[in-house]
Amino acid sequence: METLKKALKTLKRYGFIYLIFIKNCLVRQMEYRANFFLSLLLECCFLGTKLIYTFLISSTDVNLNGLPSESIFIFTGSFLLMTGFYMAFFYFNFSNIKEYITDGSLDLFITKPISLQFMTTLRYVDFSTMIPNFIGGIIILAVGWQKSGVEVSFIKIAGYIGYLISGVIIAYSVMLAPQLLSFIIIKGYALGEIADALWDSNSMPMTIYSRPIKILGTYIFPLFILSNFSSLFVLDKLGAVNIIWGIIAPILFFFLVRLMWKNIIKRYSSASS
């Protein structure tokens, strides 16, 4: 009982700090409004190219290894929603890690009375990239939902949201892991390029891939849980094993990345001082 109370207190404390992070980021972004709107406009352009490709694929009117062509809208909608989450809450934090190491900011973070992983990986929230992806994602998802004739029921919506949350935790765990290589490879931009390329490989239904890639992307480096599981669930194509795996995997991989982080920090020696 005492432990639970303590855990709740810590959770409340971190929740409060996170709200301050969000507030600070919002104030900062509103201060540089021109930057904010430029970033928003750019994200709309990225969104535009993704949508052009989606419409192109659906125009072929061909089913994608068992999925009707119109279901591509559900996958794109889910991918955009997940991209919104990832860009807003994780992307800039993860890509800043190498900067923190090279400019010595990480040394300063270590001295703060707060979890180093929390401080380093969740400090920034970006609203400009989140807004277009969220709005675009919800619209495209609604179109795909309606076009695919999926029933609007409590189970479908709750299951969809559940797997979306599972995807967010997986996004944090799986996308943070490659960025931790920054501790070993100090210079370079290629880690970011790899992370971006891996992220985009989830933009299409996983049914298009061969069996070994599906196994790799579902159970070993579970990228497909990000936005494929939620889409497959509403289309009744997820399967019993994956329904359970979609619940276990986020917990498992979150602990794995936590272990990885702890291990890497133990070996970290300051580069700047």
Binding site: N35, L41, L42, I52, V62, Y189, A190
Partner: protein
């Protein structure tokens, strides 16, 4: 020759700098494979499940070979030094070039080509192996004449992209927050050059619009030379247009650079 020596040194410096980050280069090469794999699986699934031989004007062999060749060419002609130029303009790095007997424009081009040479050699070798495999399995009709014209078009595409990069970089003279312009131009170049997918599947109207822009000569045109989609007459016209666009971007770049230099106030020097 003595005048040229300093640019050879800039070329060597670029080469040395690229050799320093070998792991970075290898990882960057790996990263370009993922989107290609996704596209191959996607179009294989579409063709496999379709009753038609041709989809959006492409048969399976031409679509897959386009995706593979275009991905490699995209890597081959990529630039990215606009950020360095922008930094020099904003933080006063350009100051030293004003007082030194070296042209900034030429220095950047030679330094970039030096940093690119190793990448060019490795990626070209990969491309040659892939083309041999594709040609022996699907017979794209690759012959020596087509290979020569393809190599020439790649070289011109690299130059065109380099001068476009310099042209866009001059935006830093007028815009403090030019990052958005760079990302937008990169996205536009990626999309309109045919680096993501064959742009002609978007329809004739879109292609007509692209006829007035230089982008399709960066990836789409060289890819379709080796892909066997273009006739020799079309190839010669395309190469002439590539040269014309290079001349136009050099001229425009010089004009913008000249106007920009008048505005330059050497901050940070």
């Amino acid at each position: 020759m003595k005048k040229f020596k300093k640019y050879i040194k800039a070329f060597e410096l670029g080469l040395q700098s690229s050799m320093e980050y070998r792991a970075n280069f290898a990882l960057s090469l790996i990263s370009s494979v993922f989107p290609m794999i996704m596209q191959i699986f996607l179009w294989t699934a579409i063709f496999f499940n379709s009753n038609d031989q041709k989809i959006l004007g492409y048969d399976y062999v031409h679509m897959i070979s386009y995706i593979i060749i275009a991905s490699i060419i995209n890597k081959l002609v990529s630039t990215g030094f606009e950020w360095d130029i922008s930094e020099d303009i904003r933080n006063g790095g350009l100051n030293k070039f004003i007082t030194r007997p070296i042209g900034y424009f030429s220095y950047r081009v030679f330094s970039f080509l030096g940093s690119k040479i190793m990448q060019l050699a490795i990626v070209s070798a990969i491309l040659a192996i892939i083309l041999t495999i594709i040609n022996s399995n699907f017979s794209l009709g690759i012959n020596p004449a087509r290979i020569l014209l393809f190599l020439l078009s790649i070289l011109l595409a690299l130059l065109l992209n380099t001068f476009l990069c310099i042209l866009f970089s001059s935006a830093a003279f007028w815009m403090t927050e030019n990052w958005a312009a760079f990302i937008f131009m990169n996205l536009l170049t990626q999309f309109a050059s045919g680096g993501l997918f064959p742009i002609d599947i978007l329809g004739k109207r879109f292609m007509r619009l692209l006829d007035f822009l230089p982008f399709k000569y960066i990836v789409y045109f060289p890819t379709n030379i080796i892909n066997g989609k273009l006739q020799f007459e079309e190839i010669f016209i395309g190469i002439a247009l590539q040269c014309a666009w290079i001349a136009a971007t050099i001229a425009l770049g010089k004009i913008f650079w000249k106007i920009g230099m008048k505005k330059y106030i050497a901050v940070g020097g």
